[in-house]
Subunit: 256 residues, 2 copies
DNA sequence: CCTTGACCCTCACCCAGCGTCATAGCCTAT
DNA sequence: ATAGGCTATGACGCTGGGTGAGGGTCAAGG
C-alpha cells in the first residue's frame, strides 16, 4: 500500500526538475513504478530510494551513465568505483591547482603592464611537456632505468604530429576495449584487442610479459592512470589490468 | 610576403584538429586570412599568433565565447578577466576538495562492509544546507547581525519549493542583465532590471541604498560571488557592481 | 454540469566544443 | 590519367538537461 507520487511531488521532494525526471526516464535511469492509463508517471518509495542514490552520485560528478551502471549491476563493486572516481577527482583537483598557478604567473607578468603579447611559440608545448615529464617520472619509479631511457628516446624522436597519431591509435584501441567489456577479460575479442594494445605499447619500449603485467597493475594502483581509464568507462581500469594479466600469462609467456 | 598555411599545417603546428579550426572559423573566433577561389582556407602568421592566445585561454578553461570577447575587444581589461576567472578556478578547486572528502567519508563508512543502503532522507539536503551555511557565514562577516538574523529567518521559513522558485526568479533577472550588458550599466534597460534585482534581494531582507551598494562590492571582492557571476558571463561581476552602485545612488537614495 | 487552473503528456529544438561520418570536389605526382 | 591525399560543406552525435509549443487531464468550486 505504498503511496504514489506524481512527477511534481518527486521533483519537489528531491529538488530536481520535472524535466530531469523525464530525462532519467528516457535514458532508463529511473523509471516510474507505474504509468497511469493516460501515461502519467507515478513513483513509489523504491523509486525515491533509487533517486537518492542517483543524486548522491550526481553530486560526486559521476555521469548518469556511470551511475546507471553502478546501480543496475548489483555485482558492481561500488567501493572500487568510488576509489577510482576519487582518483579522477584528485586529478582534477591538481589540475585546478595548476591552472590557478598559471593564472597567477600570467598576472604577475602583466602587472608590470607589458603589452598583451604572449611569450612566443612555447605556450603550445607547456602542458604536453609537463604531462610527459610526469609520466616519465612515474615510470622511473617503477622500472628499469634502461627501458625508461629507451622509451624517452623514442618519444623524444617523434614529431608532434607523429606523437598525436600514435596517441590516437592508442585511444582507438582503448575505446574498442571499453565497448567490448561485457565479453569478459579472457574472451577472444578482448584478447585480440589487448594484443593490439601491447603492440601499441611497444611503440615506446620493448615490453615483455612481466613488464606488461606490471603495467596493468599500474593502471589500478596509480591515480593518474586510473583516472584516465575510469574517465572512459567505470571499471575499465580494473578490467584492463585483468585482461592484460591474462594476456601476459598466456600469449606473451608462450611466445617468449 | 608572409607564408600561407593550410588547415592541415595549422592543425599540426598547433596540435588541435582540423575540425576545431573549422569550428573556430564558423563561430568567428579565428577566420583564415584568406580563402582560395575554391574555398580553401589559408592562414597567415597573425592567425597563428591569435591561435596561440586562443589555446592559452582554452587551457585555462575559458569558454570560446569568453576568449572571443577578450581577444576581439581591445578595451577589454584582460587582467580583470583573469582575476575573475581565477576566482572561478579557486571555487572549483575547493569543490573538488570537498567532493574528495565526501568520497573518503563514504568509503570510510563502507569499509566496515555495511550493505549498500544510504543513510535516509538527509542526503538530499546535505549539499544545499552546506551552501546556505557558507552563504550565511559570508554575510555574517560583512553585515549587521540583526539583518543577518532576519534573512536567515526568512530563508528558514521558506519551503524547499518556494526557495527554488525564488532562486529561479533571481537567475532569470541575472541572465537578463547579462544579456543586456552592452546597453551600459546606467541605461534604462539595465536599471529596470537592477530594480527587479533589488526587489528580489528584498525577498530576503530589507536592503537600503548603502547596503545594496555594499552587496555590489561583495560581488567583485568575494570569490564565491565573483565566480558565480563570471560563470554566467565574463565581466558580469564588475558590471553588476557598477550598475548596482548607480542604482543605489540614484533610485534608492531619491526614494529613501 | 461546466469551467477554471493546476498539472500532465509528448515532441522537438537549444547550449558547448567539437568528433565523426558522408559525399563530393581539388590538387599533384607519377 | 589516375591514384591518394587534402579540402569543402552538411548534418548528426554526445551530456544533462532548459525551454517552450501544443494539447490532454483532473479536482474543486460555482
Amino acid at each position: 500500500m505504498s503511496k504514489r507520487y506524481s512527477v511534481k511531488k518527486v521533483a519537489e521532494l528531491s529538488g530536481i526538475t520535472v524535466r530531469a525526471l523525464h530525462h532519467y526516464d528516457e535514458i532508463g535511469l529511473l523509471k516510474p513504478a507505474m504509468r497511469s492509463e493516460k501515461k502519467y508517471r507515478y513513483y513509489d518509495e523504491s523509486n525515491l530510494l533509487r533517486l537518492q542514490q542517483i543524486l548522491f552520485y550526481r553530486e560526486l560528478d559521476f555521469t548518469l551513465a556511470q551511475t546507471k551502471a553502478i546501480l543496475d549491476d548489483p555485482e558492481f563493486d561500488f567501493v572500487k568505483a568510488l576509489q577510482a572516481h576519487r582518483a579522477l577527482l584528485v586529478q582534477r583537483h591538481k589540475q585546478m591547482g595548476n591552472l590557478i598557478q598559471t593564472v597567477d604567473q600570467t598576472l604577475e607578468k602583466f602587472k608590470g603592464d607589458q603589452p598583451m603579447v604572449l611569450q612566443d611559440k612555447d605556450l603550445y608545448q607547456g602542458f604536453d611537456q609537463e604531462k610527459i615529464d610526469r609520466w616519465n617520472k612515474e615510470v622511473d619509479e617503477k622500472y628499469d632505468p634502461e627501458k625508461v631511457a629507451e622509451s624517452r628516446r623514442n618519444v623524444g624522436k617523434m614529431s608532434k604530429q607523429q606523437f598525436k597519431e600514435v596517441q590516437k591509435q592508442g585511444e582507438r584501441v582503448t575505446r574498442a576495449i571499453s565497448e567490448a567489456m561485457d565479453k569478459g577479460a579472457g574472451s577472444p575479442e578482448i584478447q585480440e584487442l589487448i594484443k593490439q594494445h601491447h603492440a601499441w605499447i611497444e611503440n615506446f619500449y620493448n615490453c615483455p610479459a612481466d613488464m606488461y603485467k606490471g603495467l596493468g597493475q599500474l593502471y589500478v594502483e596509480n591515480p593518474e592512470f586510473t583516472a584516465y581509464y575510469e574517465k572512459i568507462k567505470p571499471g575499465l581500469a580494473a578490467f584492463m589490468c585483468q585482461a592484460m594479466g591474462y594476456f601476459a600469462d598466456t600469449s606473451l609467456k608462450a611466445k617468449g
